[in-house]
């Protein structure tokens, strides 16, 4: 069972990840770039695997390695997508599958399957003081960048090329968005695993669509849902001695299902309700 201090640290990390990752996830969902998070996380996996081979399971090597790999992947994905020879989702698929294969080869060949498992699923006890600073810092940087560039991010998602004069500004905004995603994923991956961290970013963001109409409303909903998934998931994982990252992501999935059913914006039950009310209205004929 997880020690209480570790549990508390992991919860704080989960909340930080929710604050940074929630608004980013909503933006990615709105831009139809949900796969980009996967591409980055697999890149992170490969980068961390390479760092692992060089320096062993040393957190001071894993984080820069992961960050460097994420930067490479995000630049590559941006370039591939900008070249217009491939749809964006195809570019992401190519990159993340290649990165995953590379990570598996690197880790299982040299380090054994336990190392791979650690990177895939995380170790919730890994959030020591420095890890928490990184998670908190990532959330701060994300919020500041979103506040500064909100107009650009929203306009580029809504109507590419409308607000930004010339292709360079648009490419810059895109790269910045990818780097913010990378930063948040790197901050979360040692505790919750490279793949599960994406789940905590994307699933609450998708669920937020059922709760609010505006970007701001959805961002707040995503933060709340993601933080709730983390805390509930951590408690359950600690009680039942399960992988925290996976349980947290499952909690996010359950909250997604609840949102899809009962959310006021197009949730199945509220939609049925509205249809019933319309049908009960007297007709003109």
């Amino acid at each position: 069972m997880m020690a209480e201090a570790a549990l508390r640290g992991a919860a704080a990390g989960g909340i930080a990840l929710a604050v940074g990752g929630g608004p980013l996830g909503v933006l990615l969902v709105a831009r139809r770039m949900s796969l980009s998070g996967d591409a980055l996380s697999h890149g992170i996996l490969a980068g961390a695997a390479a760092a692992f081979l060089i320096a062993g399971p040393n957190p001071w090597a894993l984080t820069p390695g992961a960050l460097a790999a994420a930067l490479v992947v995000s630049s590559a994905a941006s370039l591939l997508a900008r070249s217009r020879r491939l749809p964006e989702d195809a570019a992401f698929a190519v990159i993340y599958l290649s990165a995953l294969a590379l990570a598996v080869v690197l880790l299982t060949h040299r380090a054994g399957p336990e190392a791979l498992e650690g990177l895939l699923f995380g170790t919730a006890g890994a959030l020591d003081r420095s890890g928490l600073y990184l998670a908190g810092g990532a959330a701060d940087v994300t919020l500041i960048a979103l506040a500064l560039f909100a107009r650009g991010f929203i306009a580029e998602s809504l109507d590419p090329g409308y607000l930004t004069a010339g292709p360079h500004a648009a490419a810059g905004l895109n790269l910045l968005l990818m780097m913010l995603v990378a930063l948040n994923l790197v901050a979360g991956f040692r505790a919750f695993g490279a793949l599960m961290t994406v789940g905590l970013m994307m699933i609450p963001a998708a669920a937020a669509r059922f709760w609010a109409r505006s970007y701001g409303g959805q961002a707040i909903a995503a933060i709340g849902l993601s933080a709730a998934s983390s805390i509930i998931g951590l408690v359950i994982a600690a009680r039942l001695d399960l992988e925290p990252g996976a349980v947290m992501t499952l909690c996010a999935a359950v909250l997604f299902a609840i949102s899809g059913l009962f959310g006021p914006q197009g949730g199945a039950v509220s939609a049925l309700h509205r249809r019933g009310r319309l049908a009960a209205r007297p007709r003109l004929s």
């Binding site: 709105a30 998602s157 809504l158 607000l163 505006s214």
Partner: protein, 240 residues
């Protein structure tokens, strides 16, 4: 003085010329309508002037207006209507376009946005997400956003396609207002009656300029037939 000129402009996609050497200037402060068969290069010319595509040869010369101050409403707006944004915020992006990425909207900008929303008849829908608008309402929102740009040059590509007559009438009124404000307008139209009503000048295109001048002199059956012949047997949407 506003000037939009181009010289020996060659435009196209992937090296194939859709417009092969067109030279001219749009009359400042007036409304020019562009007509021609499908594939005659009307939309391509507008895109080049808006700076959305680079010419294969030749150049567009702007005087007294920067590329960012040209309002352009393409035929297919490219707006992702699933994006979570309300009508009010969507229209406000028009005012923001002149301000760049960071500068905030001032009181005058907010007034302009509110006016644009009223003028397009969207007053009751400001808080509605754009994804929930009908086709006509969304076209009004696009006009409102264009109006909020307060641009000296306005390019409209088939702005009335698939609009009901009420929407069309209201949007024509807005074009009339822009004309009174002496904005330089270029409108691609396929409805020739409308082109005659709106255009001070007309340009008949057939992968280049076939005729250009005062609307009454240019929109003749002879020119339109020749445009059609020059573009092959592509159907003209509306025979003269």
């Amino acid at each position: 003085m506003i000037g939009v000129e181009f010289h020996q402009l060659v435009l196209g996609y992937g090296g194939l010329a859709a417009v092969d050497g067109i030279t001219g200037a749009f009359a400042a402060g007036r409304c020019t309508v562009i007509v021609g068969p499908n594939g005659s290069g009307k939309s391509t010319l507008l895109k080049a002037i808006a700076g959305r595509i680079q010419p294969l040869a030749g150049a567009v010369r702007l005087e007294g207006v920067s590329p960012g101050r040209i309002a352009y409403l393409p035929q297919d707006s490219g707006v992702d209507r699933a994006f979570p944004i309300t009508v009010a915020d969507f229209v406000a992006l028009g005012a923001a376009r002149g301000l760049g990425l960071f500068r905030g909207l001032g009181a005058a900008d907010r007034t302009a946005v509110a006016e644009a929303i009223e003028a397009t008849g969207l007053g009751g829908l400001t808080r509605r997400p754009i994804g929930e608008l009908s086709g006509g309402q969304f076209q009004r929102a696009l006009f409102a956003r264009t109006m909020a740009e307060n641009a000296p040059v306005i390019l409209l590509d088939e702005p009335f396609t698939a609009q009901d007559s009420r929407t069309e009438a209201d949007l024509i009124q807005i074009i009339g207002r822009w004309r009174d404000e002496q904005r330089t307008m270029v409108i691609v139209l396929h409805d020739l009656a409308l082109a005659r009503a709106l255009g001070d000048e007309a340009l008949v295109m057939a992968r280049g300029c076939l005729a250009w001048g005062p609307t009454a002199d240019v929109l003749t059956p002879d020119h339109l037939r020749r445009a059609q012949d020059a573009c092959g047997r592509l159907p003209m949407d509306d025979a003269a």
